[in-house]
Symmetry: C2
Subunit: 206 residues, 2 copies
Amino acid sequence: MRKVAESTVRRLSLYLRFLEEFAARGVATVSSGELASRGGTTSAQVRKDLSFFGSFGKRGMGYAVPEMVAQLREILGLARRWRVALLGAGKIGSALIEHRGFRERGFDIVAVFDQDPRKIGTAWNGLTVQDEAGLEAALRRAPVEIAILAVPSDAAQGLADRLTGLGIAAILNVAPVQLVVPPHVEVRTVSLAMELEGLSFALTNR
Amino acid sequence: MRKVAESTVRRLSLYLRFLEEFAARGVATVSSGELASRGGTTSAQVRKDLSFFGSFGKRGMGYAVPEMVAQLREILGLARRWRVALLGAGKIGSALIEHRGFRERGFDIVAVFDQDPRKIGTAWNGLTVQDEAGLEAALRRAPVEIAILAVPSDAAQGLADRLTGLGIAAILNVAPVQLVVPPHVEVRTVSLAMELEGLSFALTNR
DNA sequence: GTTTGTGAAACGATTCACAGCT
DNA sequence: AGCTGTGAATCGTTTCACAAAC
């Protein structure tokens, strides 16, 4: 089952959201075409995406919504919970932790770190902000699989190195820098600024 | 010059950042290889990316840093300023507007809208939060090129439709939904939740 | 008749490799 | 000698199109 494109996985996330909506409205089955029109792709793309993982549909019928939801959750690794550490208790971090959507989808933020003495020790949605200096000790005591890096750009790589040393499995980087990490660490970078530049380019060149 | 891949543009944004760092440190020239190692690509990729827009380097020498910075700014459409409206004065929107990085890169948030009566009229970094109901009037009086949609998922499509009606050129969508818009409207969607799911998949399947 | 699942074809992006400048 | 610029080759993704299942 190896060798699934990142673009495919992104679409699977979208399909899951649509299917959950359909499920909430009590829809029993859905066709690849319906899924496609909601997600801005084609029916062939939907079927190809799913075909990497098995065959879930009934010819002439489409896909059974609740079953498909369960399958996609399984495929995406959302049938379990993930422990997440948040690094950086600034505005962005703050917006993240209070966003209940993460918890609903299986991601539990179990620790928050910052380097600012004024923030250390303060309460945060049931958590206490810990000193970044104690990162190693804290994460060895209570390991996490994923870290969200919401710190200034110039601090990101240093923290990524420390996380790598701790054996972190994945990093979600919210800074407009390219992190250098060993190949066994999964990294996704999300940068509003870079997306805005993409829009700027698109608007300029046409 | 048409037909540049989105992945290419994203890398150009990265190159620009590295080049700005090099410029700040007074480095005069840089080779495709140096640029590549900082950005996680290959030297051939760097050269190919740039080749879409002309030839900027000197064989045997590399690229002149300050000139290259100016060129990339031009290419990305950052040699001008863009007017941006922020829709949604919640936590995420709040984090965004106070993030000075946008202004530094040429994106001026000139209006903020929300639908919550408790927020309307309050001051926000020199701006006053306006009633979402008055979106059309306000944006006709003072148009913007780009809108950042930082509202709950279920409100996103409705606002996208209203923005489209106003002739908006581009939308940066910060909600985990796929927006349906006419082809002349550029959309980029950024969803932390979906990236986390990508990490979940990667960790599960290996 | 409808819709899936999937090889094959088409398309697009990346990597290779080398000629041509400096 | 070093490094760019770029066609050609390779690799990966998307689209096509149709046989098989319901």
